[in-house]
């Protein structure tokens, strides 16, 4: 591959290897480890013409290998002998070297471009499951029934004042329920897990004559730590007094029994795409300005496709979004 050296102009035209890519032996007579004993060094000056010279250098000893590797990986001039001034700078390139280097570069560039294009950016793909169910801790369960309450007591239990502590155990064993209102013996009752509201009322001595039993869902499952209020006839069920202080809990108590349509916040989530400013305004943490912005976002950017897109509205950050997540839907 390498022709005879022959007389060449120093430092300028001695690259006949056709390999301009930095590893050319022809222009590098002194690349070997500086500590290589004798022969390799001498050999280096007289141009390492074949693999044997390189192999000899490779065998030149552990320290030589260490320093050579360090030099090549790091550019440290361990090979620089202070007695020898550095050679002249060499800029000129042979046409063959340039062509070879350019060919290698074009190949590299083509490979890079192929890899980039092969990732298929822009090609349609299956929808990503944005609505991944993440078991995030609920702020409070004002509207959502606790999981153990089952589906039967979903939003229909709104007419019973429920104040659900954050921790609702009661999956096994007995549960403790506070029954108040129109019952004969208001107070704490202990029930078997999975008991219905009717069991709780019975355990509290049964409903009084004035109780409006059709205002409560007697078939609803009660859970541990709940407070159940049985309204008297003509009485509007009110929010339970217990400390369900979480955000949004105040709005979650049911109002439908009395037909009290005055309250804007209902037990059902607000539909972001149909709700008006007033309905949005009633959400906790949302004032008239933010409500208007939500409507603006809807009219300008098209309908919401996920609750998460509320974050696009200026003024609604991840924190507020986490609070609203259960109160709105799309």
């Amino acid at each position: 591959m390498r022709p005879e050296p022959g007389p060449v102009l120093p430092g300028a035209v001695d690259d006949r290897s056709g390999d301009g890519l930095s590893v050319d032996g022809s222009a590098a007579p002194e690349p070997g480890p500086p500590l290589a004993p004798g022969p390799a060094h001498e050999d280096g000056v007289s141009r390492p013409a074949d693999d044997d010279a390189v192999a000899a250098r490779f065998r030149a000893g552990a320290l030589g290998a260490v320093s050579a590797a360090y030099a090549t990986a790091h550019g440290h001039p361990v090979g620089t002998e202070l007695d020898q001034p550095t050679g002249r700078r060499r800029w000129a390139v042979h046409a063959r070297s340039a062509a070879l280097v350019l060919a290698v570069l074009v190949a590299v560039g083509a490979a890079v471009a192929t890899v980039a294009v092969s990732r298929g950016a822009g090609a349609p793909t299956g929808r990503l499951s944005a609505a991944v169910v993440v078991p995030t801790p609920r702020a409070t369960g004002g509207t959502a029934a606790p999981p153990s309450a089952g589906t039967t007591s979903g939003t229909g239990t709104g007419d019973v004042g429920l104040a659900t502590p954050a921790a609702d155990g009661g999956a096994a064993g007995s549960i403790l329920v506070h029954v108040v209102g129109a019952v004969r013996r208001p107070g704490l009752v202990r029930l078997a897990a999975g008991a219905r509201l009717e069991d709780a009322v019975e355990a509290a001595g049964g409903a009084t004559a004035s109780a409006q039993l059709d205002a409560v869902n007697l078939a609803g499952v009660v859970s541990d730590g709940e407070q159940v209020r049985v309204p008297r006839r003509g009485e509007t069920p009110t929010a339970a007094p217990a400390g369900a202080a979480g955000s949004g809990a105040a709005d979650g108590t049911g109002t439908e029994a009395a037909g009290a349509g005055s309250s804007g916040a209902s037990a059902t989530p607000v539909d972001l795409n149909t709700a008006d400013v007033a309905a949005l305004d009633a959400l906790p943490g949302i004032g008239p300005v933010l409500a208007q912005r939500i409507v603006d976002r809807r009219t300008q950017g098209g309908p919401f496709t996920s609750v998460d897109q509320l974050d696009e509205v200026s003024g609604i950050g991840p924190t507020l979004l986490a609070r609203l997540r259960d109160l709105v839907r799309v």
């Binding site: 693999d51 550019g75 202070l82 550095t86 000129a92 340039a98 471009a113 950050g317």
Partner: protein, 578 residues
């Protein structure tokens, strides 16, 4: 065959490397159309120049003729003593440089188009909420700032985007500003994340910033070699947990490049005295590891091909272990060039290896051109390669030769890196060179022991603990030097910031160099007696070779900071979320 048996400094690829660098630096912050146009323009201009060149050069050979135009003229002139052969040699040089630029710009344009097709930039400009499928690209890092407590930056490679109305594949990097949940994600993990996109600065690698609105959902844990690297890293974390604070931070830093536990004051001291390249794995550590491996292979008497079979996977694995940071990538690329040379039966040399690495890396990843770690690494290496030798010769007028070489290396690196460092923080440390000089001997043992501890940790934790403790003794010295030097007067001298400050420092450095080179004339002008002539000091040649080798092996100097001191990000830490 060379005039005085001296090797020429092979700068044939240097114009190409410089041109590619400038082109990529510009192209990163430009649109795909502009870059493609520039590539075409460069191609046309280059072809025209090359075709026009040979006559011009032939004409220039006539004495007294001032040459015409074309970018090739300076190159033609900087080549003394080769005028006779010039005519056939300038055109290839121009063709090489321009061709490299064209290739780099074309590759960059393709990558920009791919990023555009990902659509993230458009969505980010609108501040849209999207769901992304992505892979964690690099270790999530906690953001250190006064108000950004608990904020974690996680770089992702996005593979698919869902904007609520449709989904498409994507290939673009995105930076997540998440909460603590993100710090638990290992590199290579596939996650789904929903959040709001925000625009990133032009020229930055990431096309957008994402503030998540949900916790990340892990789709798949990392697999294959990345998982092995993760296991090794966490093994080292376990065995270094009960070490002293400096050892815990620095052993992890030098072994696997993890600096998350670095105490703030120690980190600040390291930055002040220019020792940041020691805190985390950089090109220097990489070179130490490769050199150690090469030495082992030589001791075992392995042949050329066996050696390559050992070195290639080992270096690739090490890159994977310490994460491909810019300076590690630079060092690995130079190593790859060297190994290619070995495979081809050619010796390798640092200057062309550096230039070739720069060209190839920038073609593959143009955004490296704006990465401070890469710039510093290349500048330091170039400084060492080009300046250390002449500087050592010059210094040997005053110093013993061995000491001159040892001093010349950090001085050369500092001279090359200083202007870049001023861009990062407008200060100059007077103690940087001495601190590096004193601290560096501890770096090799710290690195080797730390890497050994990493490898041993999964199979034999007690042994790894002992190794880590020994590495901690070496890092103690480094930490001690850093804190001491940072406390000295003049540890941080204010300097003009910005590009002007950098230019000023470059000029000052050059002036100092010129003064050093012409010290005899200056001294004569000042009426001072010349103490002795350069080159009159005793030579290294008389030393036993083992002593020389040990001296050299111990006093090698790694390159400049791998991890620049958290430059831009805190500025982007906007006020706390509402």
């Amino acid at each position: 065959m060379n005039a005085a048996g001296r090797p020429p400094v092979d700068l044939r690829l240097a114009p190409a490397a410089l041109g590619v660098w400038l082109a990529c630096w510009w192209a990163c912050a430009s649109g795909a159309t502009a870059v493609a146009t520039a590539a075409a323009g460069a191609l046309v201009v280059g072809v025209g120049t090359v075709l026009a060149l040979p006559p011009a050069v032939a004409a220039a050979r006539a004495p007294g003729r001032e040459p015409g135009s074309g970018p090739a003229r300076p190159r033609g002139r900087t080549r003394p003593g080769s005028r006779g052969a010039a005519s056939g040699l300038v055109a290839p040089a121009v063709a090489l440089a321009v061709g490299a630029v064209v290739v780099a710009l074309s590759a960059c344009a393709v990558q920009l188009v791919v990023r555009d097709r990902s659509g993230l930039g458009r969505l980010a400009a609108d501040g849209r909420v999207v769901t992304l499928d992505a892979r964690v690209r690099d270790d999530p890092t906690p953001l250190r700032s006064t108000w950004g407590e608990g904020v974690v930056l996680a770089p992702l490679d996005v593979t698919a985007v869902d904007d609520g109305s449709g989904a498409w594949r994507a290939a673009a990097p995105v930076l997540v500003r998440g909460d603590q949940a993100w710090s638990a994600l290992a590199v290579g993990t596939r996650v789904t994340v929903t959040g709001r996109l925000g625009p990133a600065d032009p020229g930055e690698r990431d096309v957008a910033l994402l503030v998540p609105v949900r916790a990340p959902v892990v789709r798949a844990p990392p697999r294959g070699p990345v998982a092995v690297a993760d296991a090794l890293r966490s093994g080292l974390m376990a065995v270094t947990d009960d070490l002293s604070p400096q050892a815990r931070a620095l052993v992890r830093g030098v072994a696997v490049g993890d600096v998350t536990r670095l105490p703030d004051e120690l980190g600040a001291a390291m930055r002040t005295v220019g020792l940041t390249h020691v805190t985390a794995v950089s090109g220097g550590h990489f070179a130490i590891v490769v050199a150690t491996l090469s030495g082992l292979c030589a001791v075992l008497g392995l042949g050329r091909w066996t050696r390559l079979m050992v070195l290639v996977p080992a270096t690739a694995g090490f890159v994977l272990l310490v994460r491909p940071d810019p300076s590690v990538v630079r060092s690995a690329a130079m190593c790859a060039v060297a190994l290619t040379g070995a495979a081809l039966g050619r010796p390798s040399r640092a200057v062309p290896a550096l230039a070739a690495s720069v060209v190839v890396l920038l073609v593959a990843d143009p955004w490296l051109a704006r990465a401070f770690g890469f710039v510093l690494s290349v500048a330091a290496t170039a400084g060492i390669v080009l300046l250390a030798g002449p500087l050592a010769r010059r210094l040997s007028a005053w110093l013993p030769r061995s000491l001159a070489l040892v001093v010349a290396v950090p001085v050369a690196a500092q001279a090359a890196c200083g202007p870049v460092l001023v861009l990062l923080s407008p200060a100059v440390s007077l103690w940087s060179v001495p601190a590096n000089l004193v601290a560096d001997p501890a770096l090799a043992p710290a690195t080797v022991l730390g890497v050994l501890a990493t490898l041993v940790a999964p199979v034999w934790p007690p042994g790894a603990h002992v190794l880590a403790w020994c590495a901690g003794c070496a890092t103690w010295w480094i930490a001690r030097v850093a804190t001491t030097a940072a406390g000295l007067p003049g540890a941080s001298v204010a300097w003009v910031g910005g590009p002007f400050g950098a230019a000023l420092l470059a000029v000052a450095t050059t002036a100092a160099g010129v003064a050093l080179w012409n010290w005899r004339a200056l001294a004569g002008a000042a009426g001072l007696a010349v103490p002795w002539a350069p080159g009159a000091r005793p030579s290294l040649a008389g030393w036993p070779w083992v002593g020389r080798g040990t001296l050299r092996a111990c006093l090698q100097r790694p390159d400049r900071p791998a991890a620049p001191p958290a430059p831009v990000l805190p500025a982007r830490a906007s006020p706390p979320p509402s």
